[in-house]
Amino acid sequence: MEITFEHVTHSYNPNSPTANLGLDDVSFKIQDKKFTAIVGQTGSGKSTLVRHINALLKPTSGTITVGDRVITPETNNKNLKPLRKQVGMVFQFPESQLFEDTVEKDIMFGPMNFGASADDARESAHKMIKLVGLDESLLEQSPFDLSGGQMRRVAIAGVLASDPETIILDEPTAGLDPVGRQEIMDLFKSLQQDGKTIILITHNMDDVANYAEEMAVIHRGKLIAQGIPQEVFNNQELLKEDLLTLPKSAAFAKELTEKGFSFEKLPITINELGTEIEQQLNGD
């Protein structure tokens, strides 16, 4: 499903003196079946932006189109279930939303809420727990007896169990150790390869460089750049204004330019950087 924002503005407390714009006239497209990263400083409006995609927030003005569904300021809360089934959202620290007495029931909750039979939901829970890299035997346990990393995976399994077409991830790896982070990121990449649209909010620019095909930069509620990561990380204006942090490889390459190296475009992954350095030193 393609997702389109047209002149979307969102004002928090619109009629009060403390009104502030969470989003300010944002227009852009998120392409179907792609892996899109959304970056920006804390408080820039990233979370506000993605909450419009499944109508957790409604625009103050403008429209959002998700497939054939149109969300406007007038959209009411009736009939949002089909949209929310299509657009799954993994919030920050999703483990804080676990509540059932077994892992199985927790994963089954989503599909049943969207009308699946208990049998289908159970089957889905068994499939999803394996998909997120956990053992089926955990299904009988209380989610609260699991480690933090395991709870995170159960929460993600719960969102995947409803089989959403689009998956929105709000800093899904915050607080996970590096191995756990890579496993989870690889899982999202493979879901995308199986045909899902992935939208990832992150502060980790190396994850953007390694996994995303498209990225959007939000600053003070405005969309200030969009494109493939290689291009956006080479956007001189953004770099000059310090509006974007570089992936480690690009930051290192930039410093090498003071040591005699020159890059037509800053490499954004270690492999690209290694290849560039080798070519420049070995003279081919």
Partner: protein
Amino acid sequence: MEKIISIKDLNYTYPEAKRSAIKNLSLDIYKNEWLSIVGKNGSGKSTLTKLIDGLIEADSGTIEVAGQIINEENIWEARTKIGIIFQNPDHQFVGATVEDDVAFGLENQGMPREEMVKAVDEALILVKMADFKERDPQSLSGGQKQRVAIAGVLATKPQIVIMDESTSMLDPDGRKTVLNLVQQLRSQQDLTIISITHDIEETELSQRIVVLNDGQIVSDGKPEEIYDLGADLQKFGLEEPFTSELVSTLRDTIKLPDGYLNEEELKEQLWKLHSNM
């Protein structure tokens, strides 16, 4: 060097757990040192801090804090020497304003009001948050919240500050500010810092790194010694440092010195090679 914490043959197993969380662990920590304890989720690092702070009691072994072996009778006294900054700043706030919040720990200690007001002001100046003292803590950014949490800890004048993943929820700018602040306070206030993290890049300001795996110390050394483990760090669930990964992709075709190179050293090496072309 003077020891401030000395841990001997420590063992701990959680009730009903099959495996022990801490196995025969011995570790000396020195005064004014910044020690990083790194390890993946479940390696035992948080358990170790809970044991040091007396929140849980060891099955066997001893922990000496500032010359005193901690036991049930003196744990409260030992705790006044230790301040902990936790992972999630939102879980640490109790006051309606920043200054109330910093005062909380002092009220618990029964400090007279006049002294308290002074101590709070001093602590907020140290963390550069004095201008925010009348603000609601919830209106602050993550990095600012952690600075207030640090002020709350400093106000109680601890000798040891434990940072339990306290920058893992911050964005890169917030993280840098907090780590630099801690470094500065360590020398100004003669503090001992124990920071717990699974992010190897957060350990570069520390003087020593201990790697925990399955409740045991598997490596103990200066940062450059630990970083030199390179890809082997992945065995312990840690990320290979950036320069080490880059150097290993370059080594096939480019001659570089052995051992770990930090970013500055690697840049110098590449610059030399480039100038000699």
